[in-house]
């Protein structure tokens, strides 16, 4: 299918909740996903969601590249979302032009599973360049735009917005529940935009409705 890139991988099992929105009922890999967030808390939620998605795509020992503008990602926090923090290489650059160049070069490198790029603005032309890069390499790109000036049209396959949702806790017990998100798939090429309320159990995406079957992983604490 045009623009969907190399669909070399078998559909990722863990992404089944989202599959129905996409053509051929498979989460598009070898494509660019665009995420937009505006607040610090939303940015964190978006990062968590992206990390969870990548953990489902990545194979054992797979490498990913994370291009950042500000050093705020905290590697131990990624572990909860199923990523091996030491299998991620962070590249920090404050210049957007350099960041775009690195993202494009990284997307051309077949050896990577995923490339996460944190940039503010992405023009249509730049997004087409990135799209062309992934169509040849099959790398999945995640572009996280934090506080962009406009939500301009880009050549990415999808556009997502993630906002946190209050976590559900059974029986009114104290404490904070699992990460829950309102996932909005605003645009998807050849698919149906959709929205989900979903939470992350520490291993899998769980629709928020049947959340109470899952024991939160965070509470498995070791003492001493």
């Amino acid at each position: 299918m045009q623009g969907m890139g190399k669909q070399s991988h078998e559909p990722a099992i863990g992404l089944a909740p989202f599959a129905a929105a996409f053509p051929e009922n498979t989460f598009p890999t070898g494509a660019i996903h665009e995420f937009i967030s505006y607040e610090a808390a939303n940015a964190a939620a978006t990062t968590g969601f992206m990390a969870a998605i990548i953990s489902k795509l990545i194979k054992q020992g797979g490498l990913s590249l994370w291009i950042t503008g500000v050093r705020k990602n905290f590697a131990p926090g990624l572990k909860h979302f199923g990523l091996e923090p030491d299998r991620i290489v962070f590249i920090n650059t404050s210049r957007p032009k350099e960041a775009l160049w690195i993202i494009e070069e990284a997307l051309k490198c077949e050896a990577l599973t995923a490339v996460i790029g944190e940039i503010k603005e992405l023009s249509f032309t730049d997004s087409r360049r990135l799209q062309l890069a992934v169509e040849n390499s099959g790398v999945t790109g995640f572009i996280h735009r934090y506080c962009p000036r406009t939500e301009n049209a880009v050549a990415c396959t999808t556009r997502w917005k993630i906002t946190p949702l209050p976590s559900l806790i059974t029986d009114n017990l104290p404490g904070v529940g699992q990460s829950s998100w309102d996932v909005q798939l605003l645009k998807v090429r050849n698919g149906r935009p959709n929205a989900w309320q979903i939470s992350w159990s520490g291993k899998n995406f769980v629709p928020l409705a049947d959340n109470h079957f899952v024991i939160p992983v965070l509470n498995e604490r070791h003492t001493g």
Partner: protein, 497 residues
């Protein structure tokens, strides 16, 4: 033809002292040290020397004649230090600069003098420089170390002995100019040999019979028939390794082994110096005198043997060993400093990592080192210290990532202050205000107390709370220190997904 310059400092110690204490300039003073219960003069100033005071005299005798004579205690080892410093300074004139104890410097100036417009100008330049520092010097240039030494100390000042003329130059000098032992000098004097010319043309066997083997050796050194080396203060090492075979090597396997050994040798050296080579030349000296060579170049400074060998590998077939090569030489004419990230590239575990490493190499080349980082768990509880940079980039983690404690996905580099109201002390906050926005806390978890690691830093402990506001956004807050009547400070430190 090598050329050597010898520089003698007749008043080294006293001039150094005058340099440090300008009021001593132009004064007659000596440096003396205690020997066998009396003060013996070690060094004299020029003014003192004019009054006839020489090294080795007893201070008391000199004081009796010149009561105004100044005296300073000699500092042991000072001469060596000054000469070492001067030798390092003179590297700007030649890479081969050496200390010539007890009182001078020795420079191998082969191929250097023309840069200053000839040997006269070269010597004048050095003299003028040293004079401006306050040192009186006697310098000379000759073909051999020994003749330069002799001419500098015993001939006219600033003598330049023309190429091959050292025999003529030495003729009229006293035998002491040959650096001989006192016993030999005494015997020569007894025999009436007051000039080198008296005996320089005698057969060496005759001289050896009468004076031992030292005299003919010194003469040979002065004339250049015997070799003499200088040991430069800083070794001048081109990046070159040499391997000679026991027998001529004609097989490709033999050449491969030789090349690998040479690469290992040169890379080990580059490793210690933090360098990588940008191009390399592999020379093979054939038995019949023909030299064949292979050249390679690398895009980035590299000192990885496997990588470099791969570059050479397909070229080995172009060599024509015929009867065999007897000597192999590997040179690295161009070397550059290499950062650790680059060094690790070819040790990467898998093919995939190698491609990524190449990508990162390009990124590093583009945006400079320090931008690429990979994090490993560190065994610290304090959040800021719980991760460390992987150095080199592909360093393996030595401990597990901890999963048992909640850690935010975004951590603020510096915790930001917030205003908080809590129901009770030690309870999680009810609401907090950050940058003018009010957040009301709906759910909270904690506290998780993290103590200061006293062996690293002092300060208050932190009580961390995971809180969720009414919209579902999750924050990592902490209270710094205890409640003790005073209002403790609260901070926002991170965001959970």
């Amino acid at each position: 033809m090598p050329r050597y310059a010898s520089i003698a400092f007749p008043f080294l110690l006293t001039e150094y002292a005058a340099r440090k204490q300008p009021e001593l300039c132009g004064k007659a003073f000596v440096m003396a040290s205690r020997q066998r219960g009396r003060m013996v003069i070690d060094a004299v100033s020029m003014q003192a020397a004019k009054k006839g005071i020489a090294n080795g005299m007893v201070l008391a005798d000199c004081k009796a004649v010149f009561p105004e004579l100044g005296m300073m205690e000699t500092e042991p080892g000072r001469t060596e230090k000054i000469l070492q410093a001067l030798a390092e300074w003179s590297i700007m004139y030649t890479p081969y600069a050496a200390v010539d104890l007890p009182d001078g410097l020795l420079l191998d100036i082969s191929g250097c003098a023309h840069l200053w417009g000839g040997e006269e100008a070269y010597l004048e330049h050095i003299t003028a420089k040293l004079n401006s520092y306050g040192y009186t010097i006697q310098a000379a240039i000759a073909d051999t170390i020994a003749s330069a030494w002799a001419v500098a100390r015993f001939a006219e000042p600033m003598t330049i002995v023309k190429q091959g003329k050292q025999r003529d130059a030495l003729q009229s000098l006293p035998p002491a100019a040959l650096r001989l032992e006192a016993t030999i000098l005494a015997r020569l004097k007894k025999l009436g040999m007051r000039q080198i010319g008296n005996f320089i043309n005698m057969p060496s066997s005759a001289l050896r019979r009468r004076f031992g083997k030292e005299l003919p050796k010194r003469i040979a050194q002065a004339l250049g028939t015997d070799v003499e080396w200088i040991v430069p203060v800083q070794p001048v090492e081109p990046y070159q390794e040499r391997l000679s075979g026991m027998e001529p090597i004609a097989s490709a396997i033999g050449i491969t082994i030789a090349l690998q050994q040479l690469l290992e040798m040169i890379c080990a050296r580059l490793q210690t110096e933090g360098l990588g080579l940008r191009n390399a030349v592999f020379r093979c000296y054939r038995v019949d005198g023909i030299v064949q060579q292979l050249d390679i170049g690398t895009g980035h400074p590299s000192r990885n043997t496997t990588h470099l060998f791969k570059l050479f590998e397909h070229k080995i077939a172009t060599l024509e060993p015929a009867l065999g090569f007897e000597v192999f030489v590997l040179e690295a004419p161009k070397v550059e400093p290499v950062t650790d990230e680059q060094a690790a590239i070819w040790n990467a575990a898998t093919q995939n990592d190698k491609k990524v490493a190449e990508l990162l190499d390009r990124v590093t080349a583009k945006i400079g080192p320090g931008a690429v980082s990979r994090y490993l768990p560190a065994e610290h509880h304090w959040p800021e210290r719980s991760i460390k940079q992987a150095v080199p980039l592909w360093e393996k983690p030595v401990t597990e990532w901890r999963k048992d404690l909640p850690r935010p996905i975004h951590l603020l580099p510096v915790p930001e202050t917030i205003e908080v109201s809590a129901v009770l002390p030690d309870y999680p906050p009810m609401l907090f205000r950050h940058k003018g926005t009010r957040y009301s806390v709906a759910k909270a978890d904690g506290p998780e107390r993290i103590e200061q690691e006293w062996w690293l830093s002092y300060g208050l402990y932190r009580d961390y709370y995971v809180v969720e506001d009414d919209k579902g956004a999750r924050y990592w807050l902490f209270r710094s220190g205890p409640y003790d009547g005073d209002y403790p400070k609260w901070f926002l430190h991170g965001f959970f997904a």
